[in-house]
Symmetry: C2
Subunit: 367 residues, 2 copies
């Protein structure tokens, strides 16, 4: 078992990563200070629930908790105000009070949705994350929770730190292969922005990661969380530094917007986005190595490193202009200067980005 503390003063919390954690969840919640007097609500989705919900509820009940559940359809479209309202209704029906917690059992979708519900119910109750995807190592650190608006992703939300993150590696075994790679995109991203040695490690151990070897996976999730936690602790409400976590996301979000749900997973989109950022970095003077190594790390993790031809460049550029990262009309990009180092640039010309989007289509094809 690995443990990491996210250091945020009063709102600090532990992330525990290991095998078999679901089987001791009740005990963990008690240790985190939750009281059996106040009911819990477990939120999950209908892919994860059939696999892990009943064992979790039983575990919690055997520890003395009253635990109810709310299951939403799997997929990004559940990050909606309609589902949010449904959780509120369930919370009220089950009599959750100010000392209750909402437990998110699932990936980033469930985490963001349940987290926003916990942030809002009675103006904020406790929140426990039990991530079941690799990608959710990212969403489980930092306290950003949100739902989508039909016009924009993650636009309705809050900063709400969990009381505890319980990462049971066993639950990852059922994760579809494509989701494994997508999750690794954020793991690699955390290396790329802050930790060159970890990028090397990822390249060397990509096979073990893809086969979900618990030892390798535990280490990678720990390192990924560690980088994110360090950045978040230094800048909780995203004033400046935290923006480096958006490496690959300016292009990536635009790709997701243009692709329509399903064609590109978030991790896949930001993989292509990170290749774009690396190209931009090289263009701005970083060594060619930055591009090659980025490509190698992402490619070995089973991720796309080029953009399918049919993506329309104009639409991508338009989508980028709508991205909330363009504060006060300025384009802001996270650009690598070396492996493990990035800078934030607001002097990127639209034409450069346009050229890079075109270039991404000519990269060696989708793996």
């Amino acid at each position: 078992m690995r443990e990491l503390r996210v250091d945020l003063g009063e709102r600090s919390y532990p992330i525990r990563i290991g095998e078999g954690l679901l089987g001791q969840a009740g005990q963990e919640l008690l240790e985190a200070g939750l009281s059996v007097k106040s009911p819990l609500l477990v939120v999950s989705d209908d892919s994860v629930a059939p696999l892990y919900l009943e064992p979790l509820l039983e575990q919690l009940r055997s520890a003395g908790f009253r635990a109810a559940s709310c299951v939403v359809p799997a997929g990004e479209s559940s990050k909606s105000l309609a589902r949010f309202e449904e959780i509120m209704t369930r919370a009220l029906e089950e009599g959750l009070d100010r000392k209750s917690a909402i437990v998110a059992l699932g990936g980033g979708v469930v985490g963001d949705l349940a987290g926003y519900a916990a942030a809002s119910y009675m103006r904020g109750i406790r929140f426990v994350q039990m991530p079941t995807t690799i990608l959710a190592h990212d969403s489980s650190v930092g306290g950003k929770v949100a739902v989508n608006h039909p016009m924009a992703k993650n636009i309705i939300g809050a900063f709400h730190q969990p009381a505890l993150v319980l990462y049971d590696l066993d639950t990852l075994k059922t994760l579809p292969r494509r989701e494994v790679s997508a999750g690794l995109a954020e793991v690699v991203k955390h290396g790329l922005i802050r930790d060159a040695a970890f990028v090397d490690w990822c390249v060397r151990h990509a096979d073990r990661l893809l086969s979900l070897d618990p030892e390798a996976l535990g280490y990678a999730l720990f390192k990924g969380c560690e980088v994110k936690a360090a950045v978040v602790s230094a800048d909780e409400t995203e004033q400046d530094l935290r923006a480096i976590l958006n490496l690959g996301h300016t292009i990536g979000h635009a790709l997701e917007a243009v692709a329509g749900y399903g064609e590109l997973l978030h991790g896949e989109a930001i993989s292509i986005g990170m290749i774009g950022s690396a190209l931009l970095g090289v263009q701005l003077g970083a060594p060619q190595e930055v591009y090659l190594r980025t490509r190698e790390a992402l490619g070995k993790a089973g991720l796309p490193v080029s953009l399918p031809e049919h993506f329309d460049t104009d639409r991508i550029m338009e989508a980028m202009m709508h991205d909330k990262k363009f504060g006060e009309g300025k384009m802001v990009f996270v650009v690598p200067t070396a492996i493990g180092e990035v800078e934030i640039r607001s002097d990127i010309r639209e034409q450069w980005v346009r050229d890079i989007v075109e270039r991404l289509k000519r990269e060696a094809s989708w793996p």
Copy 2:
């Protein structure tokens, strides 16, 4: 012009109370640090908007701001997720960014709704309150913002402090007489929990308050805000002390729930609730004077001090059991020990409360 600072460290903000403030709103927003580069969204309701919205928008525009508006129907039913979503849509359409602000022009309903929108849009943007009711002196201090769920009031919300509160006394002139009295209920409440001299002042100057004399009204709102600010500063997230602000609210909320919207205004319900609390106080050993003075202060402000006969005691008791103030199943009551002093009691027997509800029906009738 009177000014008060709500002292909350980094989140401190000024409340400015005076005549003609709407006519200088643009300047005030600039001084509060808002930038004309980021658009504003003014939220109002369809009773207030015809009176004050256009002049405000013009004022803001003449100061260089881009200012759009979103008008919701007047009344408590606008504190809903549906209206919240509407504001999100407008904010997106108008391109509000992280440096934008949402301005609430209206009473507590608009303030709570717009405030929760500001708390949630992009995980929190700035918020300016321009209260147009007396009651909203209460809601403009403390940062509690929320919408209702069909099953419970104020259950979906956040703590989000405004950047500025601009209280233009001129806008109060159009307030219906019944709303004036209802607002004074919270003013008197602030005296009852912390400031006996101010209760005396309220009794002596009730007529001036009811006739909206600007000097008297400015002073009363200042004192009301001052008491609330002191309590809130000491306990921002309602851990303990802040609970004293709920004087009259445990019974009051139950009455509102049973009455159905419209029959009782919030201020009227808590007026009756405060009489109930005073009776409880006397029963627990406070001098009879506490009851008599509470009754005098509320009665002179044109408020009901008795419960209409047709209210069903069983339903009131039931509604109280659902109130969120019953943490972990305990009934919590704020009870006066003297004028200007209260204590929080969790040892109140259901039967005592039931007796007091009955007794409230036998009080001298509705004024």
